[in-house]
């Protein structure tokens, strides 16, 4: 007996087709994100390399003013000088733009979603499997509809990164708020705090370090997306790696890869420094 194949693929295709009719909607989203991306990129293009390096070093110095920092400062100095020297500077700033834009979107969408999950069991139960899906679905798969809706370039790259990188921020926000000790919530209630006051004065400040760990994870994950994003036209270090693969050029591949690693370490250490700041 022959069992008919379920036409799941056809269904999804027709869904994607139907969604493509809302081109106007997707265009406005594309324009909106493109504006953010352009703004970031414009700033990086205006900044001379040496000033950029000084700003990064200054930021690190300030963020880690209470802890050991000289090793990191030296690493950052030589790392960035190496990227400059290897002529990957503009690629690096493009990658940084991609990461920061997706990081921004992740925070703006992910933190409120995490708060909502912590406050409502129903939201929690609905969103959790979606997050699982976002993290486990192979990243290549959602490149296809991304191109269909948002065309080719930075915007679909950013959105693909957001889908892949957002779950840790949502989950950690949720976790952080749930971890606030019950007696502190009770104390806030006993003194007549409203839900907003409780959130802003007690829950978010106490969830801060968990939340920051989530954002840090999201940034790292979106960095890991740069090569995949380059396949749909997101420029940056990922493009260099992608081209090196095409040319079977191990040297170029590794140098671009090292630039990604340097950028990753700098982003990671700085966001962690913000997190571990103690009273």
């Amino acid at each position: 007996m022959q069992i008919e194949k379920i036409p799941l693929a056809d269904w999804i295709n027709s869904l994607v087709d139907r969604l493509s009719h809302f081109a106007g909607f997707f265009n406005s989203i594309t324009n909106f994100f493109q504006t953010i991306i352009n703004a970031f990129q414009a700033v990086f293009d205006v900044l001379p390399e040496w000033l950029f390096i000084i700003l990064i070093l200054g930021l690190t110095y300030w963020a880690k003013r209470d802890s050991k920092k000289w090793g990191l400062l030296i690493f950052e100095l030589f790392g960035l000088l190496l990227i400059w020297n290897l002529d990957y500077w503009r690629d690096m700033t493009q990658t940084l733009t991609l990461v920061l834009t997706s990081g921004l979107i992740t925070v703006v969408l992910g933190v409120p979603l995490g708060i909502l999950m912590a406050k409502s069991r129903i939201t929690d139960q609905i969103v959790k499997p979606i997050l699982d899906l976002m993290q486990t679905m192979p990243a290549f798969v959602y490149l296809i509809p991304a191109v269909a809706f948002f065309g080719i370039g930075m915007v679909p790259g950013v959105l693909a990164s957001v889908i892949f990188a957002m779950p840790p921020t949502v989950r950690m926000t949720n976790l952080g708020i749930r971890q606030v000790p019950a007696d502190l919530i009770e104390a806030a209630d006993a003194y007549g705090a409203t839900s907003w006051q409780k959130l802003l004065k007690v829950q978010l400040p106490l969830a801060k370090s968990t939340l920051m760990a989530g954002i840090n994870q999201s940034l790292m994950l979106s960095l890991s997306m740069v090569v995949i994003a380059s396949m749909i036209g997101a420029l940056g270090l990922g493009t260099q790696v992608y081209f090196a693969v095409g040319r079977n050029d191990a040297g170029a591949g590794f140098t671009a890869g090292i630039a990604v690693v340097i950028l990753a370490i700098i982003l990671d250490r700085i966001t962690q420094a913000f997190n571990s700041k103690r009273h």
Partner: protein, 397 residues
Amino acid sequence: MTVKVEVRNLTKIFGKRISKATDLLAQGVSKEEILEKTGATIGVNKASFSINAGEIFVIMGLSGSGKSTLIRLINRLIEPTEGEVLIDDLNLTALDKKSLRNVRRKKLGMVFQNFALFPHKTILQNAAFGLEIQGDSQDTRSKKAHNALELVGLHGYDDQYPDQLSGGMQQRVGLARALASDAEVLLMDEAFSALDPLNRKAMQDQLLELQNKMHKTIIFISHDLNESLRIGDRILIMRNGSIVQIGEPEEILTAPANEYVERFIEDVDRTKVLTVNSVMTEATTININKSGPRVALRRMQENSISSIYVVDDDDRFVGFADADDVATLIRQGSKDLKSILKTEVPLTTPDTPVQDLIDKISNTPIPFAVLDNEQHLLGIILRGSVLSAIAGNEVTA
């Protein structure tokens, strides 16, 4: 005395089949049976009592007796299943969320067992939390919080964080937080239970001292009978969610409502709680204006005592006569009792704790005279009655 907090028929049932359990409870079915039939637990069972303004009202019970639930029903941190809570005749159980928040902000302060201080806020900010929630300006709340911290004896810690302070100091901050918002009613949930014995006693003393100045209405939860007896003006004893007895500390000790309370008070150090009032016995006296030495001597022989207290027409204390002296007086043929009266006798007042007498009473052969403010002789203290009171026996005159 005005009633500040009134609790009527307050009931809390935890579980799913609450309406069924409520019906069963109304029929008088026992807690265990309800649990078996419906799976619902009776947290608090029809509690009714009233608390006077300016009183320290202790709710005492072992863990699981429902005392922590009861205190949370009062400010509705836990929603009551049935019953009413009135503060100044305002029915809290009928309020909507917004009005309830207002009552919590203005009238109620709460102190928690594990302090519940905010680790991300400084001591000053913690103490100012209630004011911050009320929307006071930075200036006002800093000033009020600072004053509250001074009041509880914390100087110079304003800018520290809770984890830099010891447990006792942290709880002082908890107390300051409740005092800063000028709440009229303080709910203290096992506030001193997490402290070591020395700190606990210091905090109890401080609370009593503050209460002398401020006259708040304090509802204090405790599982420690000695603590309850020490600080409570009245004590409510709970068991299995029901009220077993409500009374002043002496009442609880001298007239326990049932066997449960009796077992509870077995190990209490009674000398700290019992006052002269409850151990004094009726004095054998003679009236100096009516009787002479012969009556005095006969009265002593009748009662087989070797000395007698002498009073005037209004029962005011005049002096004390010894049998030997009275006999000498008779032999001399004199009728002037006054000449042999001794006035240097040990005196005390009815509300003196027995503890303060123990040392003296063992060194004094003459029974203590108990006088009120107008020198009326109320009774006397015999060594035997002190001993039997400490042992927990009924004092009989």
